[in-house]
Point group: C2
Chain length 145, copies 2
Amino acid sequence: MTAVDLSTHPGHLARRLQQAHTLLWTTMVSEETTSPQFAVLNALTEKPDIDQRTLSEHVHLDRSTIADLVARLGRRGLLERVRDPHDGRRNVLKLTDEGAAVHRKLVTRTTRMNRVFLAPLDEGEQETLLRLIGRVADAAEELRG
Amino acid sequence: MTAVDLSTHPGHLARRLQQAHTLLWTTMVSEETTSPQFAVLNALTEKPDIDQRTLSEHVHLDRSTIADLVARLGRRGLLERVRDPHDGRRNVLKLTDEGAAVHRKLVTRTTRMNRVFLAPLDEGEQETLLRLIGRVADAAEELRG
DNA sequence: GCGAGTTGCTCAGTGTACTGACTAAAATCT
DNA sequence: AGATTTTAGTCAGTACACTGAGCAACTCGC
């Protein structure tokens, strides 16, 4: 009968926000490397030699998705996946030199992109937006920790 | 070299927000009908007899994605897709009785879910969050209108 | 009224993201 | 040590979401 106004629905808005971000990313940052892939490169820059499980916690993705992502990045030669000799279940991950180079390049571009993306808001609003999204996401993740 | 802090990156936060939302949706709203599918049902409740192109504008999804979604909902008997006799290119879409019933049921559950999802914020913050996301998304969509 | 352009849809391909079932390896508990 | 449980990873299946190519139908300019 009566339809609702989707612009008051956080889920719908979240999807649109991510969609808009992806679009801008491909034009301003990279067509080859996606934002989740950058998150993986970034995590491995900060913490090399971790396994897929630990990585999945850092970037907030589940193990299946990480496996796909890591396989793609491996195929492109941006990281290495080596079986842990001390624990035969684990794949130990490490960036290659090329992977580190790609990460360095994307860091500057990403910074620039974020400025453009948030340009419609003033500085206080930008800070508020990021903080509020973080709180909602954290709380929701808590529910199924 | 130096890794960045992803918690200050709107794209990463947007993905986490949507991820958290999807998780809560499947537990509190429906396991069969996803949030984008609900958006389609809602749009057709408000405006029946539109074609896929118009629908894609209403829910902010591209034509390929809409085609998939509509096909799935059609298979489940929630909507009908009829060739427009006046324009042989168009598929005219209309909810079935069952589709309208599913929409009605999900409206109440979605309202409840949104309350839980935004519960970590007070009312002013909730309003702020939705408004700020909307402004950023609108502006970004403007760039590639 | 006919050719050129536009429009609505489909299809193939790729990437993200989940669940659930499974395998293999390690840790734990008698 | 042997049986049980937990853990890391893979695989199949499904859904969302985009691009780019292509097709069929309509519109417009002349």
